[in-house]
Amino acid sequence: MARIILQNDNVNLDTGKKQTVTTGFISDRDILKKRSKKYLDLIAGIDAKTLTDTKGMDDLMKAIQEEFGTAEVSSLPLGIVSKCFLGHPYEVHTLDLSGSQIIKHYKTNETMEADFEKARTVAKHNAYAMVEVYKDKIILIREDGTATKL
């Protein structure tokens, strides 16, 4: 029951320091941080712009790497799935970041790659601007940039 009061000072003082994140381990806090408007606008613009020219693609990749603060492919999402506004019959489109970096639009009855398919249902939902697909999880991004892990 009896606590040593002197010790408490030390305990409380610790709060000032920020825990340093060890490299290689990504905390939920980091992965769930609010996404920037720039990033959101960029992804939303995929429908409108044609990114066939290499420069547009490079810009896109650069912006994504900037958003995640790393160019390391392993900590970037495999890809991004979002609702396609090209209209019927297109339903969703994917941005494959894992290497080929291809934008692909999918029709209603077309099946996607297994990794992306699990994000399809939520990507179609109006509440989410886009879904980042990782190997072991998907991250849902709302219009305001807040992220939710699933």
Partner: protein, 566 residues
Amino acid sequence: MSNQVISYADLSVINSALRSISSDMSGVHSELGSLNFKQDQLESELTKLADAFADFVEADLKHKSLQLAETRQGNLKQDLQIKFGYYAEVRRMATGILQGVDTGVVSDDTLRFTTEEVMIKAPGYWLAPALVALASWIRNDKNVNEKALNEALKRDDYKTTLFFMLVMRRLTRNDASLKWLERYFMHQNPQNLDREFIIILEAVTTGVFPPASRQLMMSNVKGWLDQLTQGDTFINEQKSQWVKFFEASGPLSDGKYPLLEKFADNWVKLETSLKEAKIHGILNTHFKGIISSSADFSKGVKVQLDEILSLLVTNFDDEELPLQEQVRLNQLIIQMDGDKNAAQAIMDAEKHIFDEKVDFLQLLTNASFNPELSGATKVTQALAVSISQPWIVEAHDTFTAQSRNRIPQTIELNVDGFKTTTKDGSEENELLKKQDAFYQTVLETELGKLSFPYGGVIIGALVCLLGVWAFSLHPVAGLVGLGIGGVLIWNNIKNFNNAKENITENVEERKRKAKEVLRGCIAETVDYRKEHTTEDANAEVLRQLLNSITPEDFSSVSKETARNII
């Protein structure tokens, strides 16, 4: 060859002997039967006796342990009296002094004399110097007060702090109680909070302590939050608890979609999904109820604070606990009529309640889920919700995402063997056409199963031929033959046609009913999707509400309460 005459033997003697044996045997049988019956009776008697004996042994054991418990309790109480008897005296005195101070009827000299005597009588007990300090404080003796206070703090810093904090609050010494509160907060470890902390938190929230204490509390709380939310562990723990809480708040099914319930293969999923969507609306009212309540609970809190104070001065000290626990166990054994196991179970449960220590985030979550159970009021619930707001929002987001991910994309209908899927019921005509085609195939296969009665017709034809041949014998015979043959052929064909008609009618009937059902299902699908979308949209409303909660917002409400009280 000679005829041998075999005389018939007279077996009547043997026969009668056999008969008498058999009658004897039946006598033996009946004897055996009665013996068996008697044995059964005996056996059941014996079991009864064994049961009674076992009962007796159990009762005897209980009785003995009851007697033992009574004796032991007496001995233990004596032990306690010898070792810690004066503690009880100090406690009685403490209550008396507090009441005396309240009413102001005890003279300073009496207070001084009695408290100092206690000090001598109870070495090592923190309450004794605390009482001396209190008495000297009342008569303005700073020197003795400081010395006594030091001693009390040395003996048990935490309890002394809590004691003086509560006493100063009772006597409305604002500055002093604030200082003690500060010290109390320093004692708290956010990862391991005491049970009574929730009441202190409550008291500060409802404005029972001076207004400045709010500031103090909030800054402490902020520090703790920073400390606890650095890693993922504590937050994730709370988040998953909230998600579970959200999941558990689902409504009961209302049977609004009877056709889908019957004809949709994935109804269970559909129903769960709708239930989950409905949760948002329920939670919306729940949270609105929490943050809009601003009743004055301070009176109840004051009573609770005094309760802590009286517990503090009446409860046993750590030193006496082992003995007191044994006394309690024996007491429980006596209470349970000697049932040791039952007593131990109660004891364990009691212990668990008092041993319970929680981290700060857990305390907040407990207070938000069920304020009554964790000893808090609506005001603290609102505070807890507002502090926990960041991870409530996160948990809600997760819950929403999970449930949205689980929304069945199609409704799998199965009407009378016709399997089809629909997304939102918009393709009614298409589905009806498909159903038409389905029944066309059904009709074809059913008719295909029906074979033309060739055999019967051929037999009829043969009979006819026979009749034609019979004309040459006799015209009547020929006519009869022809007639029979004709009737046979006609009958067979008629039966065949009847069966065909029956099948067609049957399938038509099935089709008509199935069409109605399919239409109904499609109509329900449209309603289902509509309701689901409406309920799902509530998630965004709830999210806005949750996002609008901030600790600052809430404090304005309770500052109002605080102002009213002071």
